[in-house]
Symmetry: C2
Subunit: 380 residues, 2 copies
């Protein structure tokens, strides 16, 4: 049975993984010679799937990165215990962090204020359970973290170290998603590296430990030249890739392993529209390619085998309707796609689109095998 | 215990309903004298919650509108049997529609092509189970449907009627969301009404039945002056309302019954930023106010009691980070909100934000009662 026949049994919209492409993406990143001297700590937030996570990590215990405590809880249940929760910790979340530690999970939290460090010390003492922490460093003005040189670094380091909680520094150049081309990403990688390494050195110069020096994002991990001084590199969306990553040159269109299966439900021929049953509820409202050189609308349309029609994009969406049309200025003609035709849409942003579904249908590496179903979780 | 104390026990982000505001929204629409002569068929897609649906509908059996077969299945399980599935039907979905009919659900489907009508006739005959259908009418060039005057109307009507499946016409002026003010919405309501009524008359003139003449959206149902010729009016998002609806004058800011509870997790004081743990995963990527007179970013920030700070909005988002800042040009000063402070964010688009969660926490009408939890479903 070929792929089209396997997919024809599905009610749409559904979320599809091409396992062969996914595994190639995983192997490509893992094999980068530039990453040979550091640990690769994949971000497990894109997939929110134990099956995908187990294929991403390099040992059964990890390491891995998470963006919610729910992820930490689910992945720890699956045996992945070396985790960083890479979002600033609030005091209200400490009871769940403590519960994970008591169960044996080596979950490291992130912070950038003395108040958070003190709350961590108090909770760790009160429960005789040390919660290790990384200090967040801002390498590109993108969101949280201390700028290198901020005197709070040593103050927070001392507070944490007094309780034995200081584990290192972490940075993420989120703005690398807005830069195009390998050279630009390599420069962001070097900014990340310098920010992490100089703050690690500052901590050590003050007599403080800094065993973990962590940096990374998919664009920077894909382009990094030197990892000197880093102990690990993080990256996430490379497991699936998406149109945003293709648009900034981090992957090829053919590397995108995630798509939304949809069905034609109508036409407005006088307007050049084809209507499908994947609206924003399935595709997400992400418009990450809107500011790129090629605006892909709400996604690029492929046939059921995953081959793009070229200029056919999801031009607009309602909750459960997608409206396909040719890209503005296209000289192609609209393909004839009768009601009932199945199509696959490549997403702007894999994290956002995947989040709209509670399972994956997986086109297996072994072409003779049937589709697999992998559960997916959400929430916090 | 006051609201702030009740909410303080929650781990964030979480989705909050103010039940008093929700019930007021329901009652206000239900009581509109302009709707006295028609049936109100609420759209149950915004809430995706049996508890909310049972408060929205006027009798235990409905009527109601759904946007997915999953909604139809869940609501029918709760006893709501008079349903319209208001998205064009694809042949692949007919087995699930048939199963609902066999179980006793009066689910009406929507179509606008002879091919869909023929597929419906075949499936109905093959299973001796008539699937009633409405013909979709396009009243504003927004997405699917036949324009009034399209000769396909009678052709489709005849195909359906031959199998006893023709139940009526339906239209939705989705572009009314882009119009501001009651007068503009009343004009859209009249466009909807004329499109539905003229096509119903065309069917009847051709000797075909048209028992249901259905039109509506929250803006048009809120402004409609004459319902003459209609049998029912549909509306959905009014149950919660949102910033988009407030921005076009359909509701007041104080009517918005839905919010996302979040917690301050950091600051970038030199940039005037406050970081919270509600990013796009919690708020959705919806930017529906971006083209309105007042751009609310990814949401308007309120204190934990639901009182807006005025100019404080969610200026940008990452997956699990929201960055709050004052609206551009604001002369206010940034409020002092320490790490750990709980806040509530009013959403741009209630349907999109609610979809990111699998339950609601409900601030009860009775101030002395504890918070309630209502489950929420997703999927298709």
């Amino acid at each position: 049975m070929n792929t089209a026949e396997k997919l024809s049994a599905l009610s749409t919209p559904e979320l599809i993984i091409d396992e062969r492409k996914m595994m190639a993406n995983i192997v490509r990143m893992r094999s980068r010679p530039e990453l040979a001297k550091v640990s690769l700590r994949p971000h497990l937030k894109t997939a929110k799937s134990v099956e995908v996570a187990l294929r991403l990590i390099s040992t059964p215990k990890g390491p891995g990165t998470v963006s919610t405590l729910k992820e930490a809880e689910v992945y720890f249940e699956a045996g992945i215990s070396d985790l960083i929760y890479a979002v600033g910790i609030s005091p209200q979340k400490l009871p769940r962090v403590l519960a994970l530690h008591r169960a044996g999970c080596d979950l490291k939290v992130l912070l950038d204020t003395p108040e958070q460090a003190k709350a961590l010390i108090e909770a760790s003492k009160a429960h005789s359970s040390p919660i290790p922490a990384l200090i967040e460093i801002d390498s590109d003005g993108h969101r949280g973290g201390l700028e290198p040189g901020d005197p709070l670094l040593i103050e927070i380091g001392r507070i944490l170290h007094a309780g034995g909680l200081l584990r290192g520094v972490l940075t993420h150049a989120g703005d690398s998603y807005n830069a195009v081309g390998r050279e630009a990403h390599a420069q962001f990688a070097e900014k990340e590296r310098l920010a992490a390494v100089t703050t690690a050195q500052a901590l050590r110069s003050a007599g403080l430990p800094c065993p973990i020096v962590s940096a990374g994002s998919t664009p920077t991990a894909s382009a990094i030249r030197s990892t000197e001084g880093l102990t690990e590199v993080r990256a996430g969306v490379y497991v699936f890739f998406d149109l945003v990553m293709a648009g900034i040159g981090v992957c090829k269109m053919e590397d995108i392993a995630l798509s939304v299966l949809t069905t034609v439900i109508g036409h407005q021929r006088s307007r050049g529209w084809i209507l499908v049953d994947a609206g924003w509820m399935a595709l997400s409202r992400d418009r990450g390619t809107a500011r790129q050189a090629v605006d892909q609308g709400y996604g690029l349309v492929c046939d059921v085998d995953g081959k793009a029609f070229g200029d056919l994009i999801v031009n607009s969406v309602n909750q459960e309707h997608g409206i396909l049309s040719l890209r503005p200025g296209s000289k192609s003609s609209l393909p004839e796609l009768p009601v009932g035709t199945q199509l696959r849409i490549l997403p702007n942003h894999a994290c956002a689109t995947a989040a709209q579904f509670d399972s994956y249908f997986v086109i297996p590496e072994n072409a003779d095998a049937p589709l697999k179903t992998w559960p997916r979780f959400g929430g916090w």
